[in-house]
């Protein structure tokens, strides 16, 4: 393999919404490269469907404070409230800016951007569901991704497509650059850069049933975790209530925003019992728990009583055609039923990581629970934990998060680059990655130690022991399983020894990140002896504000995990019992 060196001021890893938004901010002010293991338009932002919330008040009275209240309450009071204020206040300009760049939002008769209802979003602090989610049919994420990429094309942003970043170089606590693998050739590229933003998305592939793309393996958080950077709030993982049965493909909450209803095997609208005021539009953690409870109590449908129905049959063909065209196509393609005539079998699907790389509100990465900044390293989007989502993210707030904090990451890169000088990174920067690659190429293949086998066992066991409902017993059992999988991973082998498009090699490296994400998720969940947001401990059913109103920080400690904690930053909203 060849080793090729590049010199940039800044590098952005990942070309989804957060990475592209950061690039638009940073590119005019520095020599910038955006590095992605896919093509930018293949990023998973494009799979987001329902909308992006902002208190535009195009349909009814609204203001960003109500949005902030909903976000904090939805987070089960774990979100940092000053950060939530920024998210909700800057939401308005962020949506308008995207429109100015060409985003084809759906429109009201007045010509203004259309807005719809979504789970957990209300007017006047809980009075009624709010029309707050700005949307483009049910392909809002696709339109955001396309618009941001189009803007980058117009600006001539430099991309390295199908290059996978696998290492960061930090000397004396200062960022010096990243090292990447060129998928098409197997060459290693050193990117000298003093500002690096990780915008690599989530890690839903730690679970068996997930809405996430195959590429979502936690690369950014994994790279930093292996360098001693902690991961924040990893016990909070969101399960979206309506994944297509068995496949996990997302059916947007917009379906319920437009009036869709969840029903159990008897046709009962069971959410009336769990959230009497906003019913099917309760936040995702509550709806997913309700579905899991219905199933465990024998009210699930089908021969195995293991799913519920999403009923859209009363919405009318025109609403479905205009507002939910993509998700109804998914149902026709994969389930072979017509959503206008028949209810759709659904089950909760692993969807979104509230936790990730700890950052401050300027996207600067923190290296401990005391708030120490790691100079030159930034993160935004799902890979980061600011925290604006706390213990449970509200629908539409992720598309908002990527543009608000993507922009802030870009700005921080500009500030840092303009106040520091260039330096050189030594030629041996590629040594660690080269060693890793050589090890896989030189080790003889043994089918008993293959990547798919270990990964499948990882996904199956995480699904079984660390999903919606958790107990000390299930988490302890999972800790043991992970320890065994980690041991077997040390001996993992691959059969492809070639240089060109060796994706088996990349899957082997990604598997280590998946193990890191699972270790930190399970260790943080085992320690947190309360139930809050998406983290439900059957053996500790109550939320415990006196002991647990704090963020967890999981550090790598050899092959185990060490935990530290930081108090939540409160603001206008005192923690209250969470009812809808």
């Amino acid at each position: 393999m060849k080793i090729i060196k590049h010199s940039f001021d800044g590098v952005i890893v990942g070309a989804g919404g957060a990475g592209l938004r950061a690039a638009i901010e940073a590119a005019p002010h520095m020599k910038l490269a955006v590095i992605t293991k896919l093509y930018p338009t293949r990023s998973h932002t494009g799979a987001a469907q329902g909308g992006m919330s902002a208190a535009l008040a195009n349909v009814e009275e609204d203001n960003w404070n109500w949005h902030a209240f909903d976000t904090v309450k939805g987070s089960d009071y774990l979100a940092d409230q000053p950060a939530v204020d920024i998210l909700c206040k800057e939401a308005i300009d962020s949506v308008v800016e995207l429109e100015h760049w060409g985003l084809p939002f759906s429109r009201l008769e007045s010509g203004k951007i259309a807005q719809r209802r979504f789970g957990g979003h209300t007017v006047r602090e809980g009075e009624a569901p709010a029309f707050r989610a700005c949307y483009a049919a049910d392909r809002t994420g696709h339109m955001i991704l396309q618009t941001l990429y189009q803007k980058c094309v117009s600006m001539g942003v430099t991309f390295f497509d199908e290059f996978q970043v696998l290492d960061i170089k930090i000397d004396d606590g200062v960022c010096k650059g990243v090292v990447a693998f060129e998928i098409a050739t197997g060459d290693i590229h050193i990117f000298e850069a003093r500002a690096v933003t990780f915008a690599t998305g989530g890690f839903g592939k730690i679970y068996k049933v997930s809405s996430n793309a195959h590429s979502l393996t936690g690369d950014g958080p994994g790279i930093l975790y292996q360098k001693g950077i902690p991961l924040e709030d990893m016990e909070f993982y969101q399960f979206h209530p309506t994944g297509i049965y068995r496949l996990g493909i997302l059916l947007s909450e917009a379906a319920r925003g437009e009036g869709g209803i969840l029903r159990n095997k008897d046709g009962e609208r069971f959410m009336e019992r769990y959230a009497p005021s906003i019913k099917d539009l309760a936040p995702r953690d509550m709806v997913s728990r309700a579905i899991a409870t219905e199933i465990s109590e024998g009210n699930g449908a089908g021969p195995n009583n293991d799913f519920v129905y999403l009923d859209l049959t009363h919405l009318g063909a025109e609403t479905i055609r205009q507002k939910l065209p993509d998700i109804t196509d998914f149902v026709r393609t994969y389930v072979k039923i017509e959503p206008i005539d028949e209810p759709i079998p659904v089950q909760p699907t692993a969807h979104y990581a509230m936790g990730g790389i700890p950052t401050d509100v300027d996207a600067r990465v923190l290296s401990d629970a005391q708030g120490t900044v790691l100079p030159g390293v930034y993160s935004a989007g799902e890979s980061a934990c600011v925290s604006v989502h706390g213990a449970n993210r509200l629908g539409t707030n992720s598309l908002l998060d990527i543009v608000v904090f993507g922009k802030r990451a870009g700005k921080s890169m500009v500030d840092y680059v303009s106040s520091t000088k260039r330096f050189t990174l030594s030629e041996n920067a590629a040594e660690d990655l080269k060693g890793k690659v050589d090890n896989f190429i030189n080790k003889e293949h043994d089918p008993n130690f293959s990547v798919p086998k270990i990964r499948e066992e990882l996904q199956d066991s995480m699904e079984e022991n660390a999903k919606i409902f958790r107990t000390e017993e299930s988490l302890t059992k999972q800790t043991e399983i992970l320890s065994d999988l980690r041991y077997r991973y040390q001996n993992v082998t691959i059969s492809d020894k070639g240089k060109i498009f060796n994706t088996e090699l990349l899957e082997a490296i990604e598997l280590e990140y998946l193990l890191d994400m699972s270790d930190t998720t399970v260790a943080s969940a085992l320690e947190r002896k309360e139930s809050r947001g998406a983290h439900s401990r059957v053996d500790h059913l109550e939320r415990d504000d006196s002991n647990w109103l704090k963020h967890s920080f999981a550090f790598k400690n050899g092959d185990s995990v060490k935990l530290d904690y930081k108090d939540v930053e409160l603001g206008n909203y005192e923690p209250k019992e969470r009812k809808y």
Partner: protein
């Protein structure tokens, strides 16, 4: 059910040309073609190369030729295709390895049509207004995911990759018919060129191939007609 899968393999490090390899698999009729490729890669031959990401037809990574037709491997179920299932890379672009092709020409053509909104008019603090009717005029072409299924199904593109191809024209259409855009003229100049929209011979392969159901040939016709309005 038993499936007989035939894949056109090519590894530039060991092969001089492509060759068919056969795999006999046990499959569920509801599985995706992509699931079959994963079975081969994960449990038979780890060196099989193909692109994939979202696995439900929105990222555009896995366009390939299945039993002679362009489609996304993640969007077609085993029970929908006849057995044996023959899989080849999309045509008209150089093969990198197995089912992976070099996409550079494709994206270069895309960039030629200025695929971004051009409007330097003063904007206020709020959104520009656009009526639902005006918004609807380019709805169909906003759905493009740049998978290249259309362009690589086009017989004109097979013989001349200088032709910008259906996908680039679809992306031009998305802006030409957007009431907020001011650069239609420049875009249409590109498409009036010898390698532009008039190379289309209305074979309709592109419309059949589009996994997003875009009326591609109609979009090309709209663009052709629009070029006649500029001097």
């Amino acid at each position: 059910m038993d499936v007989n899968l035939k894949i056109l393999r090519f590894n530039p490090e060991t092969d001089r040309k492509g060759h068919w390899e056969e795999y006999n698999l046990e499959a569920d009729p509801d599985e995706r073609i992509l699931d079959l490729l994963h079975k081969v890669k994960w449990f038979d031959d780890g060196s099989l190369a193909f692109r994939r990401s979202c696995a439900h037809g929105v990222c555009g990574s896995d366009a390939m030729v299945v039993n002679g037709e362009n489609m996304l491997a993640c969007q077609v179920l085993v029970k929908e295709v006849s057995n044996p299932i023959k899989i080849e890379p999309i045509r008209g672009l150089p093969v990198v390895k197995d089912l992976v092709v070099d996409m550079e020409t494709f994206f270069e053509s895309y960039k030629k049509v200025m695929p971004f909104l051009v409007n330097d008019d003063e904007v206020g603090e709020r959104e520009r207004l656009q009526s639902p009717e005006d918004r609807d005029k380019f709805e169909d072409t906003t759905k493009c995911i740049l998978c290249a299924a259309c362009t690589t199904s086009c017989p004109v593109f097979w013989t001349a990759d200088t032709y910008v191809g259906p996908a680039a024209i679809v992306n031009a259409h998305r802006f030409v018919f957007d009431s907020r855009d001011n650069a239609s003229k420049q875009r249409l100049e590109v498409l009036k060129d010898v390698n532009g929209a008039f190379r289309c011979r209305t074979a309709f392969n592109c419309t059949t191939a589009c996994p997003r159901g875009i009326q591609v040939t109609k979009a090309i016709e709209d663009v052709k007609r629009e070029t006649l309005t500029i001097n």
